[in-house]
Symmetry: C2
Subunit: 396 residues, 2 copies
């Protein structure tokens, strides 16, 4: 028998991954080109050439024992310094390597922080719809995830509702900006209001409430959208970053935490997070990839590629009469389903070989997430299938 906690997780296994496996199954039957798999945030833009160049350069010029060896659990000092300096240049901050912990992707960074902060029963607030793995990351440490719903059709957090949800037990608030699954970018004005609420609540309750900025999609923004850097707006902010999307390296599991010196109990939290990195079995972020991301820190993925997909898909779907939230960031399009039960819609879409993720997987039913990090050709080829789906489901 498996543990009781895992029984729950097995029963509610990630619908995203289930749809991904379903897409692979359909592709094996009908051919890859006849399946329109919009399920997974797996970038279709290859890593910049600079990544392979950096790997070859490191293999040729750096000591193998160092490149593949153990370092401090928080990561190589030179790598952390490079990243800190890059952040300082971009955001006018003054981080040093002592504010950085290299992590096994953003997912490990969040686990490290929750392991560090949460006692059983502590509350973490997330704005729904949200990346549903947050639930697991919080309950891993016996915390309780509380949802504060964003209102349609803007899907930005409501500071008033946040205020009402905060209790003495609130240890952290997660912000995921640009947002997965909606593609919305929360503007500065909303962030400023959230910061005001948190400051006031900290004072009122005599607690520290940490704002966890989960930003794997920071570099993926379109048109004029600007993603505020949260440590500049709220003192108790911790940032989780990943190179999965910015450099198309999701399988490599490489990211970092920024723990600013200004946060309450900084020394204690940084030390504990370093130890949590070790005892949770990550030990350290993959060594070669640490060295690679430092070498290509100024490289970015081909945002124009995703932008073209975004426009094509948005125009196609709205043209067919679907009701979509216009995405400003990430590579997801959030679409209202014609029927209330979006799972039914997903099942019908599957008949046309369109693979979607139901909104309930993000705690928001009546919507679906469409990951447009696919090839442009897939979007173009999917038009006929979408047309048939529209005819079948949209009221004339």
């Amino acid at each position: 028998m498996i543990s009781n906690k895992m029984v729950g997780f097995v029963q509610n296994n990630s619908a995203i991954r289930a749809m991904f496996e379903e897409g692979k199954r359909l592709a094996s039957i009908y051919g890859k080109e006849n399946v329109y798999d919009f399920s997974l945030g797996n970038p279709n833009v290859p890593a910049p050439d600079a990544v392979a160049d950096a790997i070859r350069d490191i293999l040729a010029n750096e000591d193998s024992l160092m490149v593949h060896g153990y370092m401090s659990n928080v990561g190589y000092e030179d790598v952390r310094t490079t990243i800190a300096e890059s952040l300082n240049k971009r955001f006018g901050t003054s981080f040093t390597m002592k504010n950085l912990i290299m992590t096994v992707g953003a997912a490990s960074g969040l686990n490290v922080i929750f392991k560090t902060l949460l006692n059983p029963g502590d509350e973490v607030i997330a704005f729904s719809p949200y990346f549903v793995e947050y639930n697991a990351y919080v309950t891993n440490y016996d915390g309780i995830l509380k949802e504060v719903p964003c209102k349609a059709p803007e899907f930005v957090p409501d500071p008033k509702q946040l205020e009402a949800a905060i209790t003495k037990k609130t240890r952290a608030v997660i912000i995921n900006n640009p947002n997965n699954p909606t593609g919305v970018v929360y503007p500065v004005s909303v962030i400023e209001e959230i910061a005001k609420v948190l400051e006031a609540k900290q004072k009122e309750l005599g607690t520290d409430i940490y704002l966890i900025s989960d930003e794997p999609y920071r570099e993926l923004v379109y048109a004029d959208a600007v993603v505020p850097y949260l440590p500049k707006y709220y003192r108790n902010t911790i940032v989780g970053y990943s190179f999965s999307k910015s450099l198309s390296l999701p399988g490599e599991r490489i990211g970092y935490l920024v723990i600013p010196s200004e946060i309450s109990d900084f020394e204690q939290i940084y030390s504990a997070a370093a130890i949590a990195t070790r005892i949770l079995g990550y030990v350290n972020a993959p060594s070669l990839m640490q060295r690679v991301v430092a070498k290509v820190i100024e490289e970015k993925t081909d945002v124009a590629y995703y932008d073209r997909n975004r426009k094509t898909l948005y125009e196609m779907l709205t043209g067919l009469g679907f009701d979509c939230v216009k995405p400003e960031g990430a590579f997801y399009l959030w679409m209202k389903t014609p029927m209330e039960d979006e799972k039914e819609f997903c099942d019908m879409a599957k008949e046309y070989h369109i693979i979607l993720v139901p909104g309930s997987s993000f705690k928001c039913s009546g919507y679906v997430r469409i990951a447009y990090c696919v090839s442009h050709e897939t979007i173009l080829r999917s038009e006929e299938a979408w047309k048939q789906l529209a005819e079948k489901t949209l009221k004339k």
Copy 2:
């Protein structure tokens, strides 16, 4: 404030890592060549050339989107198949990819298994001295680690004592063979007796007791020592492996779990372990390194290098009058300290720039662990320091 659990971990932070940091500090003062750092299991033999060749080959010939992208959480199918076939060839087993889960090193594999198996209060037995991180890995999931001490000077498990320690709550027993920190290889006869005890206890108690074989040091054995492959001796065995030592890739965090089809509740445990891999934030083992280890699966590190170190150090220390357990595997030498308080001995050793790890870090005081995975020159150069330490501490 950090979580209560982490307060304990911060207070008892790994002495191994502390000594490693101390070694780095001394090296920065006295020069690297004047510090004899035997603290960390960080291989001094570079990865085989085949590793860099494989990386270059993959970059040149495989699709970047596949190499750096997401795959199933359990790892690439072709990689798992290659490893399964290699194990079958070596051990006469009949594993397929469906028995393999690629992991972020052995540490993540153990965390995945304990997350999968343990309910709060469940017991896991380890034979002391043992790698002290086991404690963290078990308490991460509110399990309780119970020690069954090995007797000096052989330091092999005593099946009778194991039998006495098993209760209705015993979910797992960890065996680490070759052993860290003692360098002892547990022989087949002991494994057979342990298997007998476990089978009988399972029947008596009506429970399943899983044997967790933690074998990062499997390939590092000397002279005629043979390391039994545990699934062949006990049905409910799960194997955790790492390429950290076998290919000198400790920083890359790459390993795997073998979950044989024959174990009780196989389907459920495999599915849950796959999900645990995801929700613990590993998501998947680093992708490029998965592909690399499959390509070089028949490569091994230079065991002769460690063997020379082993002989030189063992002869040097016994020649000086120290009482050592002759190592047969791994790259650790386990030495009795002349005084009862081995921490005092470590402090004295530090005065001669010799960095050791106290046995209490492995739950066995009166001994120290000497990691001889250093350069041969370091061992030779350390002789004078050892001589002075012997003069100061050994009774004439």
